[in-house]
Symmetry: C2
C-alpha cells in the first residue's frame, strides 16, 4: 500500500517547482512508460502500475515496480482517466548545445502540446538541440511529456533563461515570419538555427533582428497563420538535408 | 439579465447532440468572435459579451449583442478562464465536395486540437475540402472551433459517415504511411486526395488499399512517428502547387 507521503510526493511532481527541486518528472500510460523502460531504463526511479498492467508486461519492465490499486492510481495520476501505470523518472542531463548542425530556438512557446510536438519533430528530422528562450513551457510538464513519447530523451534541450545563447552562435539564423522570403526559393541548408515564435505574438523584434534569413511558408489559401509546431515541421522538412 | 433557460440553452451547446439538433455552435474570446463578425456576420445568432468587451469593439460588432456580467459569463463559458465574450453561431452549410483540386480525407482523427489545426492547414494551402471518415471528432466541438479561427468558415468539410465517398473519386489518392515512397521523390501534383490516419493506429488497411500512392516523410532522426497535423502540413507543403 502506498503511504500518504509517497502519494503526496508523486502528486507534487505536477508542479514545476517540485520537479526542479527533486530532478524528477512523471510519465503515464503503458505506451510512454514502455518506451522509457526500453530506451532509458537508467532514468526510472519507480513505476506504479495496476496488477493487470504488470501481468501483461515483460519481466524487465517490472523492475522497480510497485503494484497499486485502481483507487491509488486515481490519486497519483494527473490524467482525467488514469491509464494503468504512472512512472516517476529522473530528468535527463542537459548541457548547453555547442556542436550541432541544426538547432531550433523557441521564443515563448507556451502551449505544452506544441512544445511536445516540436520535440518529436526535432527527433524525426535529426535536429540535435532545442533551445528554449524566456517564456517557454516546462519540458517536464506532464502534457509535454505525453506528447513527446521517447523523443524527450533523444533531443537535447536547454533553457536559455537570460536570452544570451543566440548571440554567441555563428551558424545561419533562420526566422520563421509572415513577411519573409518564400520557403520554396530555398534549397537544402547544411546547418542552421530555426527561430520559432510565440503562438499569438510571433517572434520578438529583437530575435528577428538577429536572423540572417526570414522565411515564410508559401501560402495558397487564406488562413492568417499556421500552428507553430506545423510551421516548424514544414520548414525543417524543406531545409534539412 | 440572462434567463435560466437562455443559460441552459447556451451551456447545452457543449454537447454534440444539442449542436446537431439546433444547428448552432459556440465560439469564445475576442479574437475568434471578432473574426467571425468580420468574415461571417450572417452566421451570428447572438453574442454575449462583458460591458468592457462591448466598449472596446466597433459598432458593427455590437449587433445582436447581450451585455452579461462576469458571473453570467462564467456560467455560459466552456473555458476554465472565460475570455470576455461567447458567441452563438449558426453552423455553416456543408455539401458533399465534388469539384476540387485538393482534398484531405481523415480516418478517425479524434483529437479536437489536431482536427482544428488540420482545418487551418487546409485553409493555408487552399485545400477546398476536408472529408471526415467514421470516428472523427466533431468539427463544432468548442476545442476544434478555438483552434481553427475563421478557417472553419472557409474550408468545406463533410462527414462521410458510411465511408463510401472515397470509392467514387477519380483523383490520385495519396496515403500518408510509415512505409511508403519518400516524399522527396515526388514533384508537385496538380490534384489529389490526401489520406491521414488516426493518431495512434494510423490508416486502416482498407483505406491504404484504395490509395494510388503511399508517401512517407523523409526521416533523418529516430522518432517513431510525427503528429497527424504536422504530417498533413509537411506533405501538402511539398505537393500542392
Amino acid at each position: 500500500m502506498l503511504s500518504k507521503k509517497e502519494i503526496k510526493d508523486i502528486q507534487s511532481l505536477s508542479l514545476k517547482k517540485q520537479r526542479d527541486e527533486t530532478g524528477l518528472f512523471i510519465a503515464e500510460g503503458p505506451k510512454i512508460v514502455g518506451e522509457m523502460v526500453q530506451h532509458f531504463p537508467e532514468q526510472i526511479e519507480r513505476i506504479y502500475g495496476l496488477a493487470s498492467w504488470a501481468a501483461a508486461v515483460l519481466l524487465t519492465q517490472k523492475l522497480k515496480t510497485t503494484i497499486v490499486t485502481e483507487a491509488e492510481l486515481q490519486r497519483i495520476s494527473q490524467l482525467q482517466s488514469p491509464n494503468m501505470v504512472v512512472a516517476v523518472l529522473k530528468q535527463f542531463e542537459r548541457k548547453e548545445p555547442n556542436a550541432f548542425s541544426w538547432a531550433i530556438y523557441l521564443d515563448a512557446i507556451q502551449d505544452p502540446g506544441n512544445l511536445g510536438t516540436i520535440i518529436r519533430i526535432a527527433d524525426w528530422f535529426g535536429v540535435q538541440a532545442i533551445v528554449c528562450g524566456p517564456g517557454c513551457a516546462d519540458v517536464y510538464n506532464p502534457k509535454v511529456v505525453q506528447s513527446t513519447m521517447a523523443s524527450i530523451g533523444r533531443v537535447n534541450f536547454f533553457y536559455d533563461d537570460n536570452g544570451g545563447w543566440l548571440l554567441k552562435q555563428t551558424l545561419p539564423i533562420i526566422a520563421a515570419t509572415l513577411g519573409g522570403r518564400l520557403l520554396s526559393k530555398y534549397n537544402k541548408m547544411e546547418k542552421g538555427i530555426l527561430l520559432i515564435g510565440n503562438e499569438s505574438k510571433g517572434l520578438s523584434k529583437e530575435l528577428i533582428a538577429m536572423a540572417s534569413h526570414q522565411i515564410t511558408i508559401d501560402k495558397r489559401g487564406q488562413a492568417e497563420s499556421l500552428n507553430a509546431a506545423v510551421a516548424t515541421g514544414i520548414i525543417l522538412s524543406h531545409l534539412v538535408p
